[in-house]
Amino acid sequence: MEQIFDIYLLEALINGLLFGGVLALLSLGLNLIFGVIDVVWICYAEIVMFGMYAIYWLHAVYGIPIVPAALLAIALTGAMGFLVHYLVISPILGSPPINQLLATGGLLFFLQSFATLLWGIEFRNLGLRLPVLQWGELYFSYARLLAFGIAVIGMIAIYLFLTRTYIGTAIRAISQDREIMTLMGVDSRRVYLVTSVVGGSLAGLAACLLVLQYDVHPFVGLSFGPITFVICVLGGLGNMIGGFIAAFILSEIISIGGFYAELEWGYVLAFAVFIVVMFIRPEGILSKKS
């Protein structure tokens, strides 16, 4: 009895870890955009929702194989990222942050309503039957392992992009001194657009991983949008390393909370921890105490 109990706890811990990978990927996109452009895309999870629909239509309805369908969906959300910046953010870059929040918040409702109009409110899924893997007495969902693996690969790719390319270096530099970028020969507007496209594409990659496990519907963004924001704030908005760590902390809390009670309690606990930490370290877990 003792022993079985431990194994289930281990399973919960591992599931928390796997879930954390996808959350880390989600928060990376949001943090990247905030770090560079200083704008929070409230509608980020809704872009993920469009990515999930894209894969659903391309793969489940039009029969395009899953990998090309996923790549197309990523390209689509990348294009959405471009449009969000070009049409919504760029014209109001100089205005107060609250206006930018309201604009992307408005976009959230627009995208939700648009999806409802186009596709109705029914839940749709890919209908994939991915196996459950057994290792000793432990059971893992293949979909989760795959999602974790791809999320890690995606994050490594972003790391290499940010550290090994000129534009990536500029993306890291721009938040440290915006004005001086001109002297380096950097067109800041281009850096903003590239960042928005990368951020949008990351939403698409996250969509590919989420659609393996969850149904898509116009309000699906609500089920992981808030936790993504909480992760970003907990890690310190714009701090990609902080976000990465916070994603795993919260996913473990949710998973272990869900193990001892219901999954909903896991979320309640995670938000409670978040609020407490915000009282102690308002600038995020990695900030120095003020």
Partner: protein, 234 residues
């Protein structure tokens, strides 16, 4: 090489430069001196495109700077070491240098230029993986100069490279400026250390309240009563 004609510039409703005309010939080192708030930094910022020119014209090797967008000015061969250095503090020395080679023309020469900078400033090679913001003031100034040189400029603008440094280091900075001249760069430098900067430049302009007052060779200005009284406390 650089030709500024009747240039005006300012901030919002405030005009900081009035009909400023100056030129810098290839191979020369030229200083702009003047009291605090005279508009020296504004002049440098206008040349490198950080603030727009309101009237007049700036030409680099005959090409009007108004023909290109601000971030393209560096590709015409103008690099700017800004006031207060303005390094990217939470990036390594090498990443800072990489940013200096951002332009399409500079990228293919990155390795070559990096070796050149490390040879010029061996200290930067030692510190290459250190965060720029954690270095001493003198080291940061080297890094800022190195970053500007990464683009292989023809003209180097330097805004008060000796500001905020200890006297010994100030001396080193002026030695650096000499070396940079020997390397063949044309230099336009703003300095508060009037006595010292006049030892390393060929000519100088005196800027006061946004207008150029006098100009002349370094010797002439060193000998002028106007400059001696106001800026060298003699």
């Amino acid at each position: 090489m650089l030709d500024v004609q009747n240039a005006n510039a300012g901030y919002d409703t405030f005009q900081a430069l009035f009909d400023v005309s100056l030129e810098v010939n290839a191979g020369e080192a030229v200083a702009v001196i003047g009291p605090n708030g005279a508009g020296k930094t504004t002049l440098m910022r206008m040349i490198s495109g950080l603030i727009p020119i309101r009237a007049g014209e700036i030409r680099m090797e005959g090409r009007s700077l108004s023909e290109v967008r601000p971030h393209e000015i560096v590709e015409l061969g103008i690099a700017h070491v800004p006031e207060n250095r303005r390094l990217f503090p939470r990036m390594t020395v090498e990443d800072n240098l990489r940013m200096g080679a951002f332009t399409k023309t500079a990228r293919p020469q990155f390795r070559e230029r990096l070796d050149y900078i490390y040879e010029l400033f061996p200290r930067m090679k030692e510190r290459r993986l250190q965060y720029a913001g954690t270095m001493s003031g003198g080291e940061q100034q080297m890094c800022a100069i190195g970053r500007a040189l990464m683009s292989k400029p023809k003209l180097l603008l330097m805004d008060e490279p000796s500001a905020g440094l200890a006297p010994v280091i100030v001396q080193q900075v002026f030695d650096l400026v000499r070396r940079i001249r020997q390397e063949g760069y044309t230099v336009l430098i703003v300095e508060q250390n009037v006595q010292q900067v006049l030892q390393v430049v060929d000519r100088a302009y005196l800027l006061e309240a946004g207008s150029l007052q006098t100009s002349g060779t370094a010797e002439e200005l060193l000998a002028s009563d106007q400059v001696r009284e106001a800026y060298m406390g003699l």
